[in-house]
Symmetry: C2
């Protein structure tokens, strides 16, 4: 049976029920670990499920920050240093990744409490997560205030990419499923994936074909 819920019913929901419900509606989400370091060398690690592609030329990626904790350390470090890393989450580390969402004090590194390993390489200013199979080094480019609900969008340019060599196709596509990247839905549901197909570029009056 199909159920219908209207705007007024959404607004009348108890707060946590609404948060769970609305967070489910956008579909499956990218989920990654953002790693930063402040100017005193204190690292921070936090899980985000609001990461999205903005453009390929130049390579831009964005993240939405809610106005409140626990993301404040990440945002402050990005604005302070101009650099951060985005690290895909795989099946081996999703519980540790989830734990980074607990509200630790600013002087505690979530790397330590989650037993994930910070990795500095090639002089990039922010640490990567060693256990992550796909790692992006990103430079802060723009902060956009979304005034309608006081959220903040941070746009960054992808400067460095690390990935398993055997996961890239000849056409450039990176097989993130093969790299064990997972996805999430809602606030707390983690999922691995099974590829259905890759489909050819769509043209009028022509059925798309498999390009696997």
């Amino acid at each position: 049976m199909q159920k219908h819920i209207s705007f007024s019913e959404i607004m009348n929901m108890e707060k946590q029920e609404r948060v769970h419900f609305i967070n489910s509606l956008g579909g499956f989400k990218s989920v990654s670990l953002l790693a930063t370091v402040n100017n005193y060398g204190q690292t921070n690690l936090a899980i985000f499920s609001s990461i999205f592609h903005i453009g390929s030329n130049p390579p831009l990626i964005a993240v939405i920050f809610r106005p409140n904790p626990p993301e404040r350390d990440t945002l402050r470090n990005i604005l302070e240093t101009g650099f951060y890393t985005i690290n895909h989450i795989n099946e081996n580390i999703y519980k540790q990744a989830h734990q980074t969402s607990a509200r630790y004090d600013a002087d505690i590194s979530e790397f330590d409490v989650s037993n994930l390993t910070s990795e500095y390489k090639n002089n990039f200013k922010a640490p990567f997560v060693k256990e992550s199979n796909i790692q992006l080094g990103v430079e802060f480019k723009e902060k956009i205030e979304i005034t309608i609900n006081n959220t903040i969008m941070i746009i960054g340019e992808i400067k460095e990419v690390y990935f398993p060599e055997n996961c890239q196709s000849e056409d450039g596509f990176l097989d993130i499923e093969k790299a064990n990247t997972i996805t999430c839905s809602g606030l707390d549901s983690y999922h691995k994936t099974i590829r259905l197909d890759r489909l050819s570029y769509a043209k009028p009056n022509k059925e798309p074909t498999s390009i696997l």
Copy 2:
């Protein structure tokens, strides 16, 4: 073996290779059909993989539009009428959904060429996709120009939600995997999911537990 690609190597890629590569880096994406109608009753249907949650109170959802076709009909209709629908894609319709990305003329409805069914209900001004299991009726709220690469972010408020009754948990969470919603990666790769777990709200010094 881990491979490293730097910004300059990205910028030196052939255009299509870069598009495939960078679109893969953001992780798994929400993929849905946006349905609109213009003031003369001409419907339009287009697949988008740049949909993301903005906030729950009020319930806001956003989509990124590239500056060029083929999305121009969708954007014009949204601005003209103020309403659109976001319809989750499932395993039964992903090939038809992909086909809507072909560049049809404005006087052709992608509902017709993809054999998907438009469904008007409860006086909502835009059509839903009947074959979709989770359908959102959305009202346009704000247009934000992302000047760094001339893309446009459209923010809408969720006014109506339709979903299978047996897919909602008591805490509000909607099990979109049970509703057969799929995800995508890159430009053209479609994936179904297998839940790993739902994890409890994270607290310092406490292991997250399964809440399935």
